[in-house]
């Protein structure tokens, strides 16, 4: 599904990594490891198509992601450092607008169910401005659930989450991968995926 060949990334004059390659198929997860500033986020941004690599190519279903922008956009969901939600809108509106921008139809019942699942049943109609950092992260995760994407690219998904939240993300990734999805993530915390061993990839050694 996703194949990466001889990827190199430069930031300014500095080479972050080179000759990086891997393949990921259905029902596989990849954990990207590396210390601070080693290029984990840069790698993920290249994988989702926000940055262009210095050399190398990322292919999705055999086609370069810059060419398959439309299909890749439908099948990939990305959560970066920023949550990607608007403070002036309620969690509900955020989900609905995100879905419309992705070309999907999201009915209220599904959106409410997703928000309840991430533990935000009491905050559905509050503007995201008054939510805590962790709660906003949960809105982004609810967005991920309703995105219906095959490939998840998660940059530090556990930041700001409490113990329950961490368990929830582990369970989400577990279910997604068992259902045949792909997941790529970075984290500095231990990830317990209950019988599932993700592939690992080290960057910048």
């Amino acid at each position: 599904m996703l194949s990466v060949h001889e990827l190199a990334c430069e930031r300014g004059e500095r080479l972050l990594f080179k000759n990086l390659g891997f393949e990921l198929g259905n029902g596989e997860a990849l954990l990207v490891r590396g210390g601070n500033g080693r290029g984990k986020t840069s790698l993920l941004r290249i994988l989702c198509g926000l940055s262009v690599p210095a050399t190398g190519v990322v292919r999705w279903r055999g086609e370069s992601i810059s060419k398959a922008h439309e299909q890749y956009g439908r099948e990939m969901a990305y959560i970066g450092h920023a949550n990607g939600i608007k403070d002036d809108l309620t969690p509900m509106e955020n989900l609905r607008i995100a879905a419309a921008l992705g070309g999907r139809v999201l009915d209220d019942a599904t959106a409410t169910a997703a928000l309840c699942q991430v533990g935000l049943s009491r905050c559905v109609d509050l503007p995201a401005r008054v939510l805590s950092f962790g709660q906003r992260r949960r809105v982004a995760l609810a967005g991920l659930m309703t995105a219906g994407a095959l490939l998840w690219i998660l940059d530090e998904p556990l930041t700001g989450l409490d113990v329950d939240g961490v368990a929830m993300v582990e369970w989400m990734i577990h279910d997604h991968v068992l259902a045949g999805g792909l997941a790529i993530m970075t984290t500095h915390q231990m990830l317990m995926l209950d019988g599932l061993t993700p592939k690992t990839l080290s960057v910048g050694d």
Partner: protein
């Protein structure tokens, strides 16, 4: 495709409606700048009539610059811009949608206020009508070209001053033909030529600006 465009526009209009304070700043700025001139240069009708069209147009340029800083910056900060760039539609459409939304939010109110401000400059009814018409063709140009500057300076420190330097020179043709159309009416030479050129300039910016600002956005978020 069109649905995506409408969603981008509706989203921005909704966000502007939630933050009316931000939105009103540029409109009040426009009113204040234009109203200062009759007070400053004195109440001589002939003089006011001569400078009127130019003053209204320059104030419209500055008001548009004032609101451009926020066109992409807020979305960039909270990560929604990345998400929109990753959507399965061409980024050009996103840039076009943002520019149209900027025009609806900041351009259309100027059209409504402009005739009232024109009266301060002793402009006759016919000239007021052409002033509104020239602004109706001209303000979309300001939003479209401005989106290029806003995209290029995204994430830079002191981006606001840089937008001014980058974009004001590009606004010059719109200013010349826009104010020229109204002066044409006042001097009796007619306004058709100026308005046609302004229309041509709008078509050109409509074709090129979204494409350029989409590329600038890609570079800026990298």
């Amino acid at each position: 495709m069109l649905k995506f465009l409408f969603t981008v526009i509706r989203r921005d209009v909704l966000l502007a409606a939630r933050r009316r304070g931000d939105w009103l700043t540029a409109q009040f700025f426009f009113v204040m700048v234009v109203s200062m001139f009759p007070l400053g240069v004195g109440p001589e009708p002939g003089m006011l009539r001569t400078i009127g069209p130019g003053v209204v147009w320059v104030a419209a340029l500055l008001a548009s610059l004032l609101s451009l800083g926020r066109l992409f910056a807020d979305d960039y900060r909270d990560g929604t811009l990345e998400q929109m760039l990753l959507s399965p539609y061409p980024n050009t459409l996103l840039a076009l949608g943002k520019a149209i939304a900027h025009w609806i939010i900041n351009g259309i109110p100027l059209l409504v206020i402009a005739p009232v401000l024109g009266i301060q400059f002793n402009l006759p009814a016919e000239a007021l009508w052409i002033l509104v018409l020239s602004l109706a063709i001209g303000t979309p140009i300001l939003s479209l070209l401005g989106s290029i500057g806003a995209a290029l300076t995204l994430g830079l420190r002191g981006g606001g001053a840089l937008v001014t330097l980058l974009i004001l020179p590009l606004y010059v043709p719109a200013l010349i033909f826009g104010a020229g159309a109204v002066e044409g009416v006042l001097s009796g030479t007619g306004s058709e030529a100026h308005l046609s050129l302004l229309g041509a300039f709008l078509m050109m910016s409509l074709l090129l600006a979204p494409w350029v600002s989409a590329m600038a956005l890609k570079v800026s978020v990298e």
